[in-house]
Amino acid sequence: MKEAEIRRLLAANLLCVFTVILTVVVPPFFWDGFTVLGTHLAWLCVCSVCVSTLNIILHLVLKPNLSPKRISFAHKISRFLKCCVYFFMSCILFHAIIVLYGAPLIESVTETFLFAVLLSTFTTLQCLCMLGPNLQAWIRVFSKNGATSIWESSLQITTICSIFGAWFGAFPIPLDWDQPWQVWPISCSLGATFGYVAGLIIAPLWIHWNRKQLTYKSR
């Protein structure tokens, strides 16, 4: 049971990694002059859209948290709307935090906001898919020893990795190397992406490694 689930998780994560790679490789065929560094904003849009659609599809197909109850259609709609609001709010929150970290307030608002959207895709969207708009569950998952399944552990790891990636991505900005990728927000968004990819790869391996220690209490 456990082994099979880990394998499913690995497949899903590898699919995500694959999508991220595709967003870099595929668009140049359709769009002349598309590069990650040159047309960074476009890449940010493409990447967040692709990753979010894939995540939603995976969520619908795999259904990691099976809820036995039948939910009415209206409830589903309200849930969906709530998710949208939550996502938007998380974008705003990330934007605010980035500005607090020192991003310019008025100039390059689009860059900052798209970066915030990318971060939310990597973090909030997954949480929304997995846990729904349920703040209590979020707090539970993100506190110590709070995960109740493999999927939630994976969620923890990828989220933390993407945020750390973005955090480390800010380091090279003050250096005077005059590289094209030092421009705001390229290094940060690349860092977040690398962190996300690393998290996706590490999560199944780490869970596999520690499968003896990981005993999930049922709720």
Partner: protein
């Protein structure tokens, strides 16, 4: 010997301060000096003798002067674009015209950093490269003893008149026939300071009894300091300067006789940066114009000036002649000039290099060859040869000479960067040993007893100690006897040196015995289970990684330039982590009510683990702490909860605002910032409003705990601060009647309030107090231990250092703060006030830390001790690592522009931290005595 960890930390810091002082003394090279200055000056060298026998050139005298009278107008902080740029055309029409008409030679001179007035004057007059150490002595100028232009002029009977900055009068006492010094200490004075110079001009220009007139105008520099290079005040000032130049020039021309023309030299001693200050090495600060205006023709260098005046070239000058100025003379004279210049340079080089390298220097070889051919040329000349051949040959020799001069000059400049490695090494060894000792004593010093057994007596009588002492003494003797270059540590008296050596060996033995004891302890009882890092809380993790990241970032020059970004980044992260911690504490404890106790227990376990991993056995306090946690969790009111949840965000927003108050660093320094917006003249009312509000805020926040008398005193003090600012003209005084009288009164008041005014340098500082109180909401609910709190305070202190507008460049040190309330320059108060104003942020946070920790005293009696120990540790880690880095990078391209200023900052910070720690310890001792009584 048993020491409390606070005492231990401060004694460690004292030793470290000694080490830092030694290192700094060794690192900043003593500028190249010709050994004995002017006494042994021989006669000027004769023209090289022609090789043939019987032909002796009889020209041994210095060439006659090129100009009769020379007027040097030195305009402080004159940037090159003020003369040559669009501003020059607009505001200095006469000068710009002179440049275009071709009656002048104009250059852009590159000043070597440090671009501060006193070293620059020294450099101009002696031709040497200013030492970095000169910055520290910038304010206090003892008489210049090296060979210099003024001395040369004086001894050859020239009469010199000087008006302007009284630094000159101090540097060259008794050299001037007539002088009037103006002080540069009233920085807000833009007009009087220049009028005091100009008022003599009419009288002097009419007279005939002088040869050299030096005028030093300070007004432009003052405007730059107060309002920056783009202020509307700059234009009129430049215009005023232009009129003065016009007056001098026309009077010089009118008096010119047939014999010799007069010369007008216009120069700046340094430029100004985009923010209006100077001291660093940015483009604007380094480039200054240099104009030679004279009707005779069409680098600021002591050599050129000397030749122009017909004086011997100062011995320590490392400069070259500025060629076009002396062009147009006969070939013999030209050759004579370069020969003199070359001879002086090669002698300087010889005196400063070891014997074996003397003959091998390429510049020296070039010079010898050129000298030889010069001799041949003289022979031809004296034989009365064909002028055509003579001219061509002469040109060739000239070229050789110039090449030789170039190589000589550059190899001399390289010589300046000589380090006193032995002193550096001794200092670094002391610092590293102190750091090791501190690191090794962490477990003991942070334990609940906060006491540290200093292994003093066994090493003092051990064989090892004497052996180390002996070996070090031997090394010392060997190094000092064999060292050829100057070595500071060797020049100390032998008693001091032996003292330092004993200190080193004591530290060494102490470290060894501590290591031995640690090993014994770990072998005997393995009671403490190995604590893995997974038990660390996020805050611990962040603190450790943050410290490491910051220390490592010091190795890159751009991270030093932008160090403020590192700190802002770290405190932001710290706030977010705190927020997360608060969220968890609040929500988790609330929601899992059935599992409440377990959650608390887990929380407590975590605390326990944390403390265990730091070997803090809080057995005594455990129970009380647990009780407190539960009770506080139960009785937390909703409002309190929300305030504590919101406080990290408020702090984050405040940080963001403060961050835009002053842009510092290098890359983004030109961005418009809030501080300049406020201080610009259009926004005076906003500034006054803000200042008043923040002063009121300070009053209302602080007055709660004060008695009536101190309340009144404080109110008066704050009122004094505001009115002082108003008198100076920074803010608007609401009732503005005869302000002259008021300001006179205020000056007296300010003598008492100088400290206050020093603190409230910027408004930002007063916002600080407000914020300091805000933070209290955070620490209380989170039961952090003293260590964490200390480190957080240290971080915030560092961030505030940069919020204030400081940076790691010397340009941002606000020297004006040193003269608040002082009638004249007094060295010690000025230095103290400047240091106080610069380090106001870290100091305030340290004081707040002390208040907080001593209020915690009832709960944790050793909090203050822990605090001071951590403070010492936090300071010595970056210093030790940075010293190693700087030693490794001492031939880096940016060593003088980036790394050395940072080293100075670090050094001063160590001294200040030492003072803070001593203060902490004194408070702690005092307190514990009281408790015992």
């Amino acid at each position: 010997m048993r020491l409390r960890s606070g005492v231990f930390a401060s004694s460690c810091l004292l030793m470290e301060a000694l080490g830092v002082a030694l290192f700094l003394r060794g690192f900043f090279p003593v500028p190249i000096r010709s050994l004995s200055r002017r006494e042994v000056r021989g006669d000027p060298p004769a023209e090289p003798a022609p090789s043939g026998p019987g032909m002796v050139s009889n020209w041994t005298k210095i060439p006659p002067p090129l100009f009769k009278k020379v007027v040097i107008v030195l305009i402080d902080a004159l940037r090159d674009d003020f003369v040559f740029g669009s501003k020059g055309k607009q505001f200095m029409p006469y000068t710009a015209q002179a440049v275009e008409k071709g009656t002048s030679y104009s250059f852009i001179a590159e000043a070597k950093p440090p671009t501060v007035t006193m070293p620059r004057i020294k450099a101009l007059m002696t031709g040497s490269i200013p030492g970095f150490i000169d910055v520290i002595m910038n304010l206090n100028s003892p008489a210049l003893l090296d060979d210099n232009l003024i001395w040369q002029a004086k001894t050859s009977g020239k009469r010199i008149i000087f008006y302007g900055d009284d630094t000159w009068v101090k540097l060259f006492p008794k050299y001037f026939v007539e002088y009037d010094g103006t002080t540069s200490f009233f920085v807000s004075d833009f007009t009087e300071v220049d009028n005091n110079v100009t008022r003599h001009l009419d009288r002097v220009l009419k007279r005939e009894d002088w040869d050299l007139l030096i005028l030093h105008y300070l007004g432009l520099d003052h405007i730059g300091h107060m309002t920056g290079p783009n202020s509307p005040l700059v234009g009129p000032k430049l215009n005023e300067m232009d009129n003065i130049l016009k007056k001098i020039h026309t009077s010089l021309i009118s008096k010119e006789e047939a014999s010799l023309p007069n010369l007008l030299v216009v120069c700046g001693d340094h430029g100004m940066s985009e923010t209006g200050s100077h001291g660093g090495s940015s483009e604007g600060e380094v480039r200054t114009p240099l104009l030679f205006i004279s009707s005779a023709f069409e680098k600021r260098s002591a050599s050129t000036l000397a030749v122009c005046l017909g004086l011997p070239i100062p011995r320590n000058s490392v400069g070259k002649l500025i060629w076009p100025v002396v062009g147009g003379k006969t070939m013999r004279e030209q050759l004579r000039f370069v020969h003199l210049n070359g001879f002086q340079l090669s002698r300087l080089l010889q005196e400063n290099t070891p014997v074996y390298e003397k003959e091998s220097d390429p510049g020296y070889e070039h010079f010898k060859i050129a000298e030889k051919s010069h001799g041949n040329w003289i022979k031809l000349y004296l034989e009365g040869n064909n002028s055509e051949i003579l001219l061509n040959f002469g040109k060739k020799i000239l070229k050789q000479y110039l090449e030789a001069l170039k190589t000589l000059s550059s190899s001399l400049s390289k010589q300046v960067a000589q380090y006193d490695v032995y002193s550096m090494l001794v200092g670094a060894v002391i610092i590293m040993e102190v750091l090791l000792l501190l690191l090794l004593s962490i477990p003991k010093a942070l334990s609940s007893r906060a006491e540290f057994e200093v292994p003093l007596s066994p090493p003092l009588f051990s064989l090892l100690f004497y052996l180390i002492c002996l070996v070090l003494c031997a090394v010392h003797v060997i190094v000092c006897t064999s060292a050829e270059s100057l070595c500071y540590f060797c020049s100390l008296s032998w008693l001091t040196a032996v003292g330092v050596i004993m200190l080193i060996s004591v530290l060494m033995c102490g470290i060894l015995s501590t290591i031995a004891r640690v090993f014994e302890n770990s072998r005997l009882p393995l009671k403490n289970p190995v604590v893995s890092s997974s038990n660390w809380s996020e805050i611990d993790l962040l603190i450790v990684t943050g410290t490491l990241v910051h220390v490592l970032s010091l190795g890159a020059s751009s991270f030093i330039e932008e160090e403020h970004q590192t700190w802002y980044f770290l405190i932001n992260t710290l706030c977010l982590v705190l927020c997360q911690e608060l969220c968890r504490n609040n929500f988790l404890l609330k929601e899992w009510d059935p599992q409440h106790s377990t959650a608390v227990k887990r929380n407590f376990d975590r605390i326990g683990e944390v403390s265990e991993c730091k070997n803090i056995d809080m057995l005594g306090t455990r129970n009380s702490k647990l009780g407190k946690t539960t009770s506080s969790a139960e009785f937390i009111k909703d409002s309190d909860k929300w305030i504590s949840l919101a406080s990290p965000w408020i702090i984050l927003i405040c940080c963001r605002l403060l961050r835009s108050l002053n842009q510092t660093g290098v890359q983004w320094a030109h961005r418009p910032d809030f501080g300049h917006w406020l201080t610009s003249s259009e926004h005076k009312s906003e500034l006054s409003f803000l200042a008043a509000v923040s002063l009121l805020m300070v009053f209302f926040l602080v007055q709660r705990r004060c008695s009536l008398v101190s309340k009144i005193a404080m109110a008066l003090g704050l009122l004094g601060v505001y009115s002082y600012r108003a008198a100076i003209g920074n803010v608007i005084f609401p009732w503005q009647h005869d302000s002259q009288d008021i300001s006179k009164n205020l000056k007296n008041v300010c003598n008492y309030k100088e400290k206050c005014a020093g603190i409230i340098q910027h408004i930002c500082t007063s916002v600080q107090l407000y914020k300091t109180i805000m933070t209290k909401y955070i620490w209380r609910p989170l039961n952090c231990d003293a260590t964490q709190i200390t480190i957080m305070h240290y971080w915030f202190g560092q961030a505030f250092f940069y919020f204030q507008g400081n940076s790691n460049g010397l340009a941002t040190v606000d020297v004006t703060a040193g003269f608040v309330g002082l009638e004249s320059y007094l060295e010690i108060p000025a230095v103290f006030l400047t240091a106080f104003a610069t380090y106001a942020g870290p100091l305030l946070w340290a004081i707040h830390l002390l208040c907080y920790l001593s209020s915690e005293d009832s709960r944790n009696s050793v909090a203050v001790s822990h605090g001071s120990f951590c403070y010492a540790l936090m300071r010595s880690i970056p210093v030790a690592i940075y010293i190693v880095l700087v030693t490794g990078l001492r031939y880096h391209l940016f060593i003088w522009s980036v790394f050395s200023p940072k080293l100075l900052y670090e050094g001063v910070h160590v001294f200040i931290t030492t003072a803070i720690c001593l203060f902490f310890t004194a408070m702690d001792q005092n307190h514990s005595h009281k408790v015992q009584d």
